[in-house]
């Protein structure tokens, strides 16, 4: 892999294909019990005990302003590391790890949005998510 190549961990949320930098991804997990956090933003699902470390679980649908998942629908956790703390992204389902050519990444105009770039795959369009921004957006809602 050359310096211009990178990897995205891709997942599905509503009708969007999203991807986060695979370097940040710590693990993929089935649904876990969570502790509700009253008064937090709607997208904060709760707190999760990951072998003694506490992770905030964020519903990516709600954080991006997409319609909520129907109760009982399947979902998965993408556990990512953002600076010193860990966050569990709650997504509909997990796709592949895809290799991308950074040169072909199409950055979106900068702004507060969590989706910072697009990447065209032969069969679909992958939206690249910046985790810090996703958290900032989720925290302020």
């Amino acid at each position: 892999m050359t310096a211009t190549m990178s990897r995205l961990c891709a997942f599905r949320v509503a009708d969007l294909w999203l991807g986060v930098d695979a370097h940040h991804v710590q693990e993929l997990l089935r649904p876990q019990p969570v502790t509700r956090v009253p008064l937090a933003a709607a997208c904060v699902v709760g707190l999760m005990n990951l072998r003694g470390q506490i992770a905030v679980a964020i519903d990516v649908r709600l954080a991006l302003g997409l319609p909520a998942r129907a109760a009982g629908d399947a979902h998965m956790n993408v556990v990512v590391r953002d600076r010193d703390h860990i966050v569990a992204l709650v997504v509909d389902r997990i796709d592949d790890v895809i290799e991308i050519d950074l040169g072909l990444l199409e950055p979106l105009p900068s702004g507060p949005r969590a989706i910072v770039a697009l990447y065209k795959l032969p069969d679909r369009l992958c939206h690249v998510v910046d985790i810090s921004r996703l958290l900032a957006v989720g925290g302020s809602s």
């Binding site: 502790t35 956090v37 008064l39 707190l47 999760m48 005990n49 506490i54 964020i58």
Partner: protein, 699 residues
């Protein structure tokens, strides 16, 4: 040749270890100064270090060491006085002194005496340098040493990165959690062998956690290190003579606690010197030694650390505190007179309080003791002041050793568990939900407890419990957790309380920190997570942000004797505008921003007097003009005077409620004294325009 007796052995050992540390520093500093240039402070520091070694050597009779360090001190004193520059030759010679001293210390450590080294050449070189004479080149050569290293010194300390220590603390906490889980499982099994093993695990895990927490401790001396300098500078600036005495420098404290106490301590020391200690002349007039003593003492006591700052200065004069509190508008003159001397001194902790006669660079800017109190309380500590006029003041700070593991109460709210730090809890009261102790004073729910009225936060309601839960089996009973937040108490209503536990505080991420409601989270024995409540944040979230004014109003309205403590003269920061709604005798509702109200006073109609063609009341030694809302018809046995910031008293029949909401003022009904109308608290009220109300009065 000096030898060391057995009882001195320990002291000498300490001297050797300390000596090595001093030499290390000396060496580093010398090299750095040569590169970066030496400032007078740095030279003074070098001088002191050498002087210390010399003094101690003399004490133990190590003549060679004493002569050598004396010669070095001579050179340094010339440099300090500006007679010599710190030339490379001098640095070299001083470094040689460091090497020689190390050799001598090594031999003192090994055989209890100096070895027969010949230091005369080096001493001669130093003398030449001190006198500014040229030095023969070979004289500075001889002792490039393969520096012997003291065994005691090497074994006594190991440097470890903070991150490694933090990781160890985390792992130890995990072990404690795992132990809790195993203890639970083993209790269910009733297997004697398992129980025994669990008990052993229990003991080891506790001991390990304890030891690991200890590694995170740093001596408080690391905070005190700059105090001697601070005291010296302050004293000379203020023309005072002060001796600082430190005791218990090696008292260990957790890093977080240490950070929290750093600024308060510096502030307290400044205060002691600026306000406490008198000028030498005053002291001598009072029959005290000209030199004041400020004593700082730290010690461990029952799992907590106590820091005492004592000065033998003028003490805090309760009379002056009262006068100042009245001047700042914190208490009324009558109330101040009722406060005991001991309580009056506690007023120094009120926000905005300062008795400094003049504002100096050092202190007296009105920020201070309240910040000290807030900082210390934030980590679960307490501050007390005891003072005796003429004899001095003692400030006593008590703090937990660590904030990483805290004793806490687990409570149930809406089928979830939450953690309240025990340090914040005053008492628990179990009552029926329908108890008459729960009342509503105007709009705010309150809890009456032995004559005081506490604002209530129903955690279930705050956290959005569904009303269906109210019909649960045990809902007839609730537990009130009375918590202390600064100088006020609040009643938290919870469904039930579980255990007292030592919980390990874990951060729960910036995203939740921004809510201010939780100070972290913890993992309970069964692996489930519980949020740790931040008492102040919860209160604020529940709309008690302005509760001091509201509490006072509630007391007035509830027919309790006014406490005498008035609202702060600076409006309390409100997150949403709060409105005071009052009624006139004619039943008119009027509203004005609570922030503009400085005080509420109940008064009899006879208290209103005439001055010229105006009505006035005597208020704090002044005449306060009074406005009646409904002209001269305002009547009744008891009236309430709403004192506005513009020094006008508005006479009302009663205070109706306190409403926290944004209002939209309809200007169509505007008129003299009336800014317009608005819906406040669900009903229409006239929004007062106090400026024109006063003008109407003047007309």
């Amino acid at each position: 040749m000096a030898t060391v007796s057995a009882q001195d052995d320990e002291i000498v050992r300490e001297f050797v270890v300390e000596g090595h540390e001093n030499l290390d520093r000396l060496e580093r500093e010398l090299v750095a100064y040569e590169r970066e240039g030496a400032t007078p402070d740095r030279i003074a520091s070098l001088f002191r270090t050498v002087h210390t070694i010399k003094g101690t050597s003399g004490f133990f009779g190590f003549a060679r060491l004493q002569r050598l360090t004396h010669a070095a001190e001579q050179v340094l004193s010339k440099i300090r006085d500006g007679e010599r520059a710190l030339t490379p030759a001098i640095v070299t010679a001083l470094l040689d002194v460091v090497d020689e001293t190390r050799m001598l210390l090594a031999s003192i450590e090994a055989v209890g005496a100096e070895d027969e080294r010949n230091c005369d050449a080096l001493i001669a070189t130093l003398c030449h340098l001190a006198d500014g004479e040229p030095v023969a080149a070979e004289a500075t050569e001889p002792t490039v040493a393969e520096t012997p290293v003291s065994d005691a010194y090497v074994e006594s300390t190991v440097r470890v990165a903070i991150a490694v220590v933090d990781r160890l603390v985390d792992l130890a906490s995990e072990l404690v959690l795992a132990r809790n889980q195993i203890a639970r499982l083993s209790a269910a099994r009733r297997d004697p062998a398992l129980t025994a093993a669990t008990q052993r695990l229990d003991a080891v895990a506790s001991a390990l956690q304890d030891s690991v927490m200890r590694t995170r401790m740093q001596p408080i001396g690391s905070v005190w290190a700059k105090l001697p300098r601070l005291v010296r500078d302050l004293a000379s600036e203020l023309g005072k003579s002060v001796r600082l005495e430190l005791a218990g420098e090696d008292t260990g404290l957790d890093r977080t606690v240490l950070d929290a106490v750093r600024d308060p301590l510096i502030h307290l020391v400044r205060n002691a010197i600026d306000h406490g200690v008198e000028s030498p002349e005053h002291r001598q007039e009072a029959g005290k030694p000209a030199e004041a003593v400020v004593e700082l003492r730290a010690s461990h006591e029952a799992g907590r650390v106590t820091i005492e700052l004592r000065d033998d200065g003028a003490g805090i004069d309760p009379a002056r505190v009262r006068a100042k509190a009245i001047e700042c508008g914190m208490v009324t003159a009558e109330a101040a007179a009722r406060i005991s001397d001991v309580d009056a001194i506690q007023l120094v902790f009120a926000p905005g309080f300062s008795t400094a006669k003049k504002v100096t660079r050092v202190s007296g800017r009105g920020v201070g003791m309240d910040v000290v109190k807030t900082n210390v309380e934030a980590i679960g500590g307490t501050v007390d002041v005891v003072s005796c006029v003429g004899a001095g003041t003692c400030v006593r700070i008590e703090m937990p050793l660590t904030v990483a593991i805290i004793p806490a109460l687990i409570v149930h709210v809406d089928r979830a568990r939450y953690v309240i730090p025990l340090a914040k809890i005053v008492e628990l009261v179990r009552v029926e939900a329908s108890s008459p102790a729960f009342a509503r004073v105007v709009a705010s729910p309150v809890f009456r407890l032995r004559g005081s009225v506490l604002p209530v936060v129903d955690l279930g309601r705050l956290f959005g419990a569904t009303s269906a839960d109210d019909s649960d089996g045990d809902s007839a009973n609730v537990t009130v957790v009375v918590v202390q937040d600064g100088d006020r108490r609040i009643a938290f209503v919870v469904d039930a309380v579980a255990d007292n536990e030592q919980v390990v505080v874990k951060p729960c991420g910036a995203m939740l920190d921004r809510l201010w409601v939780y100070s972290g989270a913890t993992i309970l024995g069964d692996g489930e997570i519980a949020l740790i409540l931040d008492v102040r944040g919860v209160a604020r979230r529940a709309g008690l942000g302005w509760s001091r004014a509201a509490e006072r109003a509630a007391m007035l309205i509830g027919g309790h004797a006014a406490s005498g403590i008035a609202a702060p003269s600076v409006p309390v920061k409100v997150e949403r505008p709060a409105w005071l709604v009052a009624t006139s005798s004619a039943g008119r509702r009027v509203a004005l921003p609570l922030a503009e109200v400085t005080r509420l006073e109940e008064l009899a109609p006879s208290a209103i007097e005439r001055a010229g063609d105006r009505e006035v009341v005597q208020y704090e030694g002044r005449l306060l003009p009074v406005v009646r809302l409904d002209g001269p018809h305002e009547s009744g046995e008891q009236l309430t005077l709403v004192i506005h910031v513009s020094q006008v008293g508005i006479l009302v029949h009663a205070i109706a409620e306190l409403v926290e909401q944004a209002v939209v003022v309809d200007r169509a009904t505007a008129g003299p004294g009336r800014f317009g109308s608005a819906v406040v608290g669900g009903r229409v009220a006239d929004v007062l325009d106090v400026a024109t109300l006063g003008a109407r009065l003047a007309a």
